[in-house]
Symmetry: C2
Subunit: 162 residues, 2 copies
């Protein structure tokens, strides 16, 4: 019988940490279903993304390891998704450890280690970029950056980008 | 006979503008080969990326539309690549219009329109984020943002990110 894996995520500013997690989840079975949070759901959670839902799901849907990309519209659809897609394993990064244990009545639930090699380099860049001013509160320091990096890549510096 | 398409890019901060171009190129033939600029080549061109070569090529290699991802190490390998991979069409975004016309002795060269829908939204975000201070020189205003956005997504706000 086909083994189906399910995971959820926002996948804003897609990077190899996301990719590594998805590839490792896919390797556990035959088919990977990925739920991408809608903008409305993110707004309810007080979370703002750089890229909108359509952009975020497009990238996920176009990955070799992803067999089906669906929308995650609220916190209540999880059991329905597990039933609808015949899910054997629900998997998340271990930064979510324990948070989905209630799904164990429906299927196996696993938490995979997040890969850290990406972020350590970038933390260094952060420190350089900020001149160590904001280190006590990096989240706050990064808010303006998050709001403007989109156009840096998408249009303003388009020619430089290749 | 199999029709092979070749394109080159940096693909930093991968977004749907990149994806759309790659999907449209793939639709022109049977096999898409994508050259990703190395960090050394970018350094020679005075160009800095948020993500290193391995991260950038990993994402490209994992896309459904990409059959082969190779490194672009310098400006001199283009004719060799066209020969090695049996390329019929070399394609780039039209922000590069005319810049690869010298390859017309080897194969067909085309320039596809860039999709603009992503960046218009993001320009709005840029203006909001910057409070219209830097609008006369957006490239300069975005340099610090580019250096710090990596960790915002990769580690500092890891839990918020999903």
């Amino acid at each position: 019988m086909k083994k189906v894996i399910l995971t959820y995520g926002t996948f804003d500013l897609f990077h190899t940490g996301h990719l590594s997690l998805l590839n490792r989840l896919k390797a556990l079975g035959d088919e990977l279903v990925v739920g991408v949070t809608t903008d409305e759901f993110n707004a309810l959670r007080g979370k703002q993304t750089i890229f909108g839902f359509e952009d975020r799901i497009q990238i996920v849907r176009n990955l070799k390891c992803v067999d089906r990309a669906i929308s995650l519209q609220n916190g209540e659809q999880k059991a329905d998704d597990i039933r609808s897609y015949g899910v054997s394993i629900f998997g998340m990064g271990d930064d979510w450890e324990g948070r989905f244990d209630d799904l164990r009545v429906h299927c196996e639930v696993i938490y995979l280690p997040r890969t850290e090699n990406i972020s350590s380099t970038q933390i260094r860049k952060l420190l350089e970029g900020l001149g160590r001013t904001y280190v006590s509160d990096p989240g706050k320091a990064l808010e303006p950056a998050a709001s403007i990096v989109g156009p840096f890549d998408g249009k303003v510096a388009r020619k430089d980008e290749r």
